[in-house]
Amino acid sequence: MIQIKNDESIRIPESWRSKAIPMIVVGIIAVGISFFLFRLVSDKDVMKLVSHSYLANLMFCMTIAIGAMFFVLVQYVVRSGWSATVRRLAEIISSVIPWLAMLFIPILVMLVLGRKDLYEWNASREELHGLAAEKTGYLNWWFFSLRSVIYLSIWSVIVTWVHRMSRRQDETGEVEITLKIQKYSGPMIVLFALSVSFAAFDWVMSLQADWYSTIFGVYMFAGGMVAFFATMMLLFDLLQRCGKLRDAVNVEHFHDMSKIMFGFNMFWAYCGFSQFMLYWYADIPEETSWFRTRIENGWDTLSYVLIAVHFIIPFLGLMSRHVRRNRVGVVFWCAWLLVAHWMDMVFMVMPNTHVPASGLLFIAHLIGTIGMVSIFAAFLILRASDVPLVAHRDPRLREALTYSNPIL
């Protein structure tokens, strides 16, 4: 059992800490390069491409952090024992949210300046038509900004509070702290569900202002959960390769995290299909417009490939427990699903530029992603510094270290 507070094996490697600042610099440079490449894709639509690409990449990181927050809250709600050793890393990932919120500022600035490159509804009612015009009471720059601030504040408060309480337990070992978080995590999940759903409506769905889908927030959330589990397992693998957490996280934890990831991946497909089928069946022009955008301008290839890459192939690949208990298999499918989530975010956002899909566009966007992920990773390192990677005085630690999955 891990009892020693200052044990180096439950801290991030020393060498990582010095890399955080260079990574932020690299990230900013990469985002700049991607902006420059978008100019080559289309000089006319460059602002459109840049803003959409920025949003897609920000959402890629944001959904991962949001997934981490949900994971932490759910562990407390269900009083789960197995996850006591892995929960801290999820706490750290989720505690990046207040910092990611800073990256949202450019988008809000664009809105205040009245630019319509990203959100077409940022115009007066007279300039819009159809449903978009009717929505101006809800979709306007000040109300949108206010809501964004509210969502980000809710999440920041939740993750900061849970993380601080959990850290306090590291010092005191009070069981009451666990009970207290358990008590409040139920209401916090309700707040979380509503705010995440509305945030998805505002930030991503309103890119096509005349379209609406009530399951959209759930869809984004499901994709984010998959990406979060993939990220967390890849991080654990990386840490163990650096000689950390070797006793705390074992094959049983990887098995369990893979199971939940597999389940959420099915849930993602379920939500995506539920959304698609109703619109497909009714076949009403104003409702199918969103899907039409995604089969035009060469985006159809991505849309169809996404079904196989995000669902069918990993569904078959992750089905067996032998894969889920095999480290190489787990790492492979985690990396695969992160790529799938990246494609999903591209699918969500980029077709709304109405710029034809091209290889250069994808490369430019990918470089932007590398930049954004590098900033995200730097935030993670900064947040993880001086924090034990295991909640080492959690009352359920013993259960987490000794349990095993039944043999089927």
């Binding site: 698609f276 089928m277 069946y281 076949d283 427990r321 349990y403 039944p406 043999i407 089927l408």
Partner: protein, 534 residues
């Protein structure tokens, strides 16, 4: 323990079946199970009040093949669902739904998902029953009274005597070294394996009782009875309403049927008695003299009732002396077919109306009888309205239908006409008429095209409104057809007001003219546009 075994050795004392150790918690059980496995025993089993993590590993239970069986079951369900739906929707009963392809994969997915889950679940259920060799009615461990607590708060470890390395003393020593709460030898169940007669009888009784409803249903479905049927489900068989000719207690006169309130007209009933409502001139009809007068009055009444179904029924059936035998009714060289297809007759009669009708010849008498009254006053006496019909009493509906074209239809629309009326007519035509007749009136509406595609044998194609027979009809006749229907076409008198019907007539006439228009028909201010587009 088989019955065979039991019968054979009833006299001998019960044999030892193995040893069972009792523990107060799962840790003791897990520890003991590990020891027993390490000692090499494989015929072991554990009994716990709830699933214990790690017990499979401690006992050395190997992974089961069930997941692979379930995988096969799931894929079978997936394939079954897809093939079934494709066969049903695209092969056996192809039916176009909102213009989607017959084999629409997105629509198949929910059922595919359900069947995959269902097949997987059934395979899991049956597979686990088979792999566990269930049902097992008895187990020797049940003989121990302490074992009852296995479903409550105690944990048991059992070593069977059929194990390869089983040795009574060494097993006993091994188990007692694990600090069990108790340790006992499990003896063979000495009680009889014969199922008690009471059980047999109750099962039999239950079967008999269970078959009673089925027997009653079978009898009911295969026999006749003069008494009213049992109403297991009432559906809508009994309703608090009065049927015609029943007695009402609500009204003083005791009549359930009420006559209309004085000064009112029911919907679909008489609307008016002039050309605007009828499509023909009732005064002309009344003034007309001749043998057919009574018939015309009958047809007039029918039209006045505005009831497309009732219309033929109110017509006077032809008297036998007016009828001719079918052979003599069709003169040689007549173009009237000897069949009762109503729509064909209509077309034929319209053809006849095109001919110069002031010179009726004896050979044309069959067709002349249907020529419009206002054009062929002289022909009326010579022609019998039913002379073109087969003299089959069962087809008198068809015979009566021949009264229709003899009405004095009006040739001018009896209302003010302007562009708004034309717009109204276009709108109503596209709503009600175009589904069969087509937007252009060519008889190629969506319904017609679909019927043609699936080649239904009973389908009668809708008439093209540009056929000569239709083009030559006076506006009153088109109005009459719209109001009362014709052939398979239903009447639209109930859904369109007279004004709307005339508007549709106007639009139909405009459609017809559009195919035969000359440049001079185009208004002057539009002619420049026309020449530009040329």
């Amino acid at each position: 323990m088989s019955e065979h075994h039991e019968k054979k050795d009833r006299s001998r004392p019960p044999q030892s079946q193995g040893w069972i150790a009792e523990y107060v918690d799962e840790h003791g059980l897990l520890e003991a199970a590990r020891k027993v496995r390490e000692a090499g025993y494989t015929k072991t089993d554990a009994f716990t009040p709830y699933p214990v993590h790690g017990i499979d590993h401690a006992l050395g239970i190997r992974p089961t093949v069930l997941p692979f069986i379930v995988l096969v079951g799931g894929f079978t369900g997936l394939g079954t669902a897809l093939l079934m739906q494709y066969w049903m929707n695209a092969v056996d009963y192809p039916y176009l739904i909102s213009g989607k392809p017959l084999g629409s994969w997105p629509a198949f997915i929910p059922v595919t998902f359900e069947l995959t889950v269902l097949f997987s679940a059934i395979t899991t259920f049956l597979g686990s029953i088979l792999l566990n060799r269930l049902p097992k009615y008895s187990n020797p461990v049940f003989t121990s009274p302490r074992f009852d607590r296995a479903t409550d708060d105690r944990f048991f470890l059992y070593v069977d005597s059929s194990d390869r390395y089983f040795n009574k003393n060494s097993v006993q020593n091994l188990l007692s070294s694990t600090n069990p709460e108790s340790l006992e030898e499990v003896m063979e169940d000495a009680s009889s394996t014969v199922i008690p007669r009471a059980v047999w009888l109750s099962v039999l009784l239950l079967l008999v009782i269970a078959s009673i409803p089925m027997a009653i249903i079978l009898k009911m479905r295969n026999s006749n009875s003069p008494s009213p049927r049992w109403h297991v489900f009432f559906d809508m068989d009994f309703q608090p309403k009065k049927k015609p000719q029943q007695i009402s207690t609500l009204f003083a006169d005791g009549r359930a049927m009420r006559s209309p309130v004085l000064g009112t007209v029911a919907r679909g009933q008489w609307e008016g008695n002039d050309a605007f409502y009828l499509g023909y001139d009732p005064a002309k009809l009344a003034a007309h003299a001749g043998r057919d007068r009574s018939r015309f009055v009958g047809a007039s009444l029918a039209a006045a009732m505005q009831d497309p179904v009732g219309a033929p029924a109110l017509g006077q059936p032809p008297t036998p002396d007016e009828e001719k035998s079918p052979e003599s009714a069709i003169p040689a060289g007549s173009n009237v077919p000897a069949k009762s297809e109503t729509s064909d007759e209509m077309d034929e009669s319209s053809n006849a109306a095109e001919k110069p009708s002031d010179e009726p010849s004896p050979g044309d008498e069959a067709t002349d009888g249907k020529v419009m009254v206002e054009e062929t006053q002289t022909a009326n006496d010579a022609a019998s309205p039913s002379s073109g019909e087969p003299a089959n009493p069962s087809q008198d509906g068809a015979a009566l239908a021949s009264a229709v074209p003899t009405l004095p239809f009006v040739t001018n629309i009896p209302m003010e006409i302007d562009a708004q009326v034309m717009e109204l007519g276009k709108k109503k035509f596209e709503i009600y008429c175009s589904v069969c007749h087509g937007v252009g009136g060519d008889g190629d509406g969506l319904v017609a095209r679909r019927a043609e595609e699936i080649a239904q044998s009973y389908w009668l194609p809708p008439t093209s409104l540009h056929a000569d027979a239709v083009r030559s009809q006076p506006v009153g006749q088109v109005f009459y057809t719209i109001s009362n229907g014709k052939g398979k076409m239903a009447g639209y008198g109930a859904v369109l007001t007279p004004k709307e019907r005339w508007a549709v007539v106007l639009y139909v006439k405009a459609l017809q003219r559009s195919r035969n228009a000359s440049e001079s028909d185009v208004p002057l201010e539009m002619q420049s546009k026309l020449s530009q587009s040329k």
